[in-house]
Amino acid sequence: MTIKLGADAFTIAVAIYALAAILYVAYLINKQKAMADAGRGVLIAGFLVHSAALVIRGLALGRVPFLNMYEYMISCVWGAVVVYLGVEIFTKNRSFGAFAVPLITAGAFMAARLPYQLVDIMPALRSAWRVPHIASAVLAYGAFAVAFVMAIMYLLAVKSEGEKGSFWASRLPSAKFTDQAIYRVIAFGFLMQTVLILVGAIWAQMSWGRYWGWDPKETWSLITWLIYAAYLHTRTVMGWRGRNSVLMALFGFLAVIFTLFGVNFLGGLHAYSSVMK
């Protein structure tokens, strides 16, 4: 069990995901069920290899692989695959895969290019709380990413609904169906986001003596939570459906992106220039 073995296994998984992506897109184009079955089979195969890669890395390191950018990305992609498979099973619809799986592949490909070597753990991160914290993040952001892909598909479906003989109209799931599916995925993501924030707060209390410090990462995860909470309220209580609802979901994903990446940019503007050379 070496890190290199794990990294190689992940590279293989990326290749398998690429094949699955091709199959799903082919299914969308020619609507043959065999393609979808093959696509799902290949996706699951890729998922198993991906899972093995994570396990191998974990065994080689002696800890759960949730630490540097490489580990974080490969875990998030894994989370997105879990959520996508859930969507396929619960909605019994394979067309989402034609959009989701290529994007998952792209994410996996980018992750594979990150440096995978050992990273030293800061003493503050050596805590059991790290595992549920990152695990819920992986599932939350995986879900929000899948919902984002579905939102794009919704807009495409709506745009092509009126057009006769449109390429998209006969292949995409109906706008209404996609709209409902987005809601279910976001509900799951929201539960995970709640767990993420609260576990993070408890960890912060144990480590730093305060459960909430309004630092950029904390504040932005809360902002994301608030936007999706608003989305869920407009849907359940005000009965919003369709375009407005989906736009809110898209808007929420922007907050997710900023929480994950933009926060570091904010951090750069801080007086953090005293970081060691």
Binding site: S207, R235, H270
Partner: protein
């Protein structure tokens, strides 16, 4: 999983009852009523959520531009006011919807209208040969098998069943909103009755003084905390893996607690918790040993300052210029030693320092055999960097870096609101889970007699997704039409 959770229904709020009274009175009532209406509105809730999000976004960017990483702005009156508005909104909505939720749970309407049932999003019509009561029993059996709680009533000339399950789901949003209020309460308790601060303890010393952030100055703990030893644990590559302080607590003159704390494992005593926060160099001790075996111990205080955002260290010496200089004369051979620089994280080479944290201290040693006659720069000879526990030799002399004394920096905090906050956390997760993963399902069955046959119409009248009832209809069919 379920679709469209049935949150408490209408967008129009509660029943507005006009109270009789004088014109002036009803105007006041009108204003209060309008305020109540505003705060019981779902639109208000969504607006507040988004406003809070937007304001927070602005603050984070604003803070970043100013290089301010404190949470001060979030504790300002107007931000707290925004949070208070949300709290009021939650409270008013909860009060408003309580009666309805209670009624839906414990005394729902048991009526069934066959026409409405047939038009429901999910329904099934069956025929049964036999008596109405027999049909009812079959239907009830089927529904009980599907874990519904069934109530049978007589409605005019028909037998009617009311089957329900998942009533807990009604309280999901309730619990969620309540939990947020509980968290707010915990935060307020913590803010009022709690405090946070900081203290430093030097190895081998104990103190009861700490700096209290709430009152902005030093205060006393009421007991003493001592540091026996501070230690940094390293891995094979000599990277720090842990910062550990061996703390003792003395109350009333005797030791009452002891714990080796690190970043994720604090020490608590009498409701006050001590967290490993930082550490530093307090003093160093070097020894100069002559060729004849005589030696002298040289302790120096360490001083830290800031330069370009980095922490810089220097040794405070005992000579008239405050420099760490010592002249010794052992075995007839005079030698003056100058400890010119102290590098906190010595790695050698051109870089010298890997960081400004005191991980691997080393001192730069200069010697001068003709001090104080020759004081110029050319009289001093650099003999090297001397890390802790190492020694250098020069013409029979040995200069050793014996030991360092460190201090530990502890975050001190007391938060009586913490249990309340944690309770709120647990309720929040539970509430969100119940809201989205439990479904309140109601099936009404109407059994009408026509001749010696019964027309059994069952319809789902809760807002759960129609597909969730498929299995229920299948079971009914099996039992009733068997």
């Amino acid at each position: 999983m379920n679709y469209g959770r049935n949150f408490v229904t209408n967008t129009t709020e509660h029943i507005d009852e006009q109270q009789p009274g004088s014109a002036g009175e009803s105007k006041e009532m009108g204003a209060l009523q309008a305020l109540w209406d505003l705060f019981s509105s779902m639109k208000t809730a969504i607006v507040l959520l988004l406003v809070l999000a937007a304001v927070s976004i602005v603050i984070t960017i604003f803070n970043a531009k100013r290089g301010d990483d404190s949470s001060r702005v979030y504790q300002s009156p107007w931000y707290l006011f925004l949070l208070a508005l949300i709290g009021v909104n939650l409270a008013v909505c909860s009060v408003n919807r309580f009666q309805q939720a209670w009624r839906r749970t414990f005394s729902p309407s048991l009526r069934a209208d066959p026409k409405a049932l047939k038009n429901a999003a999910a329904s099934v019509s069956l025929t049964f040969e036999g008596t109405a009561d027999a049909a009812a029993e079959k239907a009830e059996q089927a529904l009980r098998a599907r874990r519904y709680t069934v109530t049978k009533t007589q409605q005019d000339s028909a037998v009617v069943l009311h089957a329900v399950k998942g009533r807990l789901a009604i309280w999901g949003p309730y619990l969620t909103h309540l939990s947020i209020l509980v968290i707010f309460l915990g935060a307020v308790i913590g803010g009022r009755a709690g405090f946070d601060g900081y203290m430093q303890i030097v190895e081998g010393q104990q103190t009861s003084t700490y700096s209290n952030n709430k009152i902005g100055k030093d205060a006393k703990l009421g007991f003493e905390v001592g540091l026996k030893k501070f230690e940094i644990k390293y891995d094979e590559k000599h990277n720090p893996t842990g910062y550990k302080s061996d703390l003792q607590v003395y109350d009333g003159g005797k030791q009452v607690a002891q714990k080796i704390i690190d970043v994720n494992h604090p020490l608590s005593y009498k409701g006050i918790t001590f967290f490993q926060s930082s550490y530093g160099l307090e003093s160093v001790t070097l020894t100069v040993t002559g060729p004849n075996g005589e030696s002298k111990e040289l302790p120096y205080q360490v001083q830290t300052g800031s330069e370009n955002g980095q922490t810089v260290y220097s040794l405070i010496g005992m000579n008239e210029m405050g420099m760490a200089v010592e002249t010794v004369n052992f075995g007839g051979k005079k030698l003056t030693v100058l400890f010119h620089n102290i590098a906190p994280d010595y790695v050698g080479g051109t870089q010298t320092n890997a960081s400004d944290m005191p991980l691997h201290p080393a001192v730069q040693v200069y010697v001068n055999e003709r001090f104080p006659e020759y004081k110029g720069m050319d009289a001093w000879k650099e003999i090297g960097w001397l890390p802790v526990n190492k020694s250098l030799t020069y013409k029979g002399y040995t200069i050793a870096f014996d030991r360092i004394v460190q201090y530990t920096g502890l975050s001190v905090a007391r938060n009586p609101g913490l249990p309340v906050v944690y309770l709120g956390f647990a309720l929040l997760v539970l509430g969100v889970f119940i809201s989205f993963y439990l479904t309140h399902r109601i099936i009404r069955v109407h059994i009408a007699t026509s001749g010696n046959k019964q027309t059994v119409v069952a319809g789902a009248t809760s807002r759960a997704d129609p597909s969730t009832f498929e299995k229920d209809w299948a079971r009914l069919r099996d039992e009733v039409e068997a």
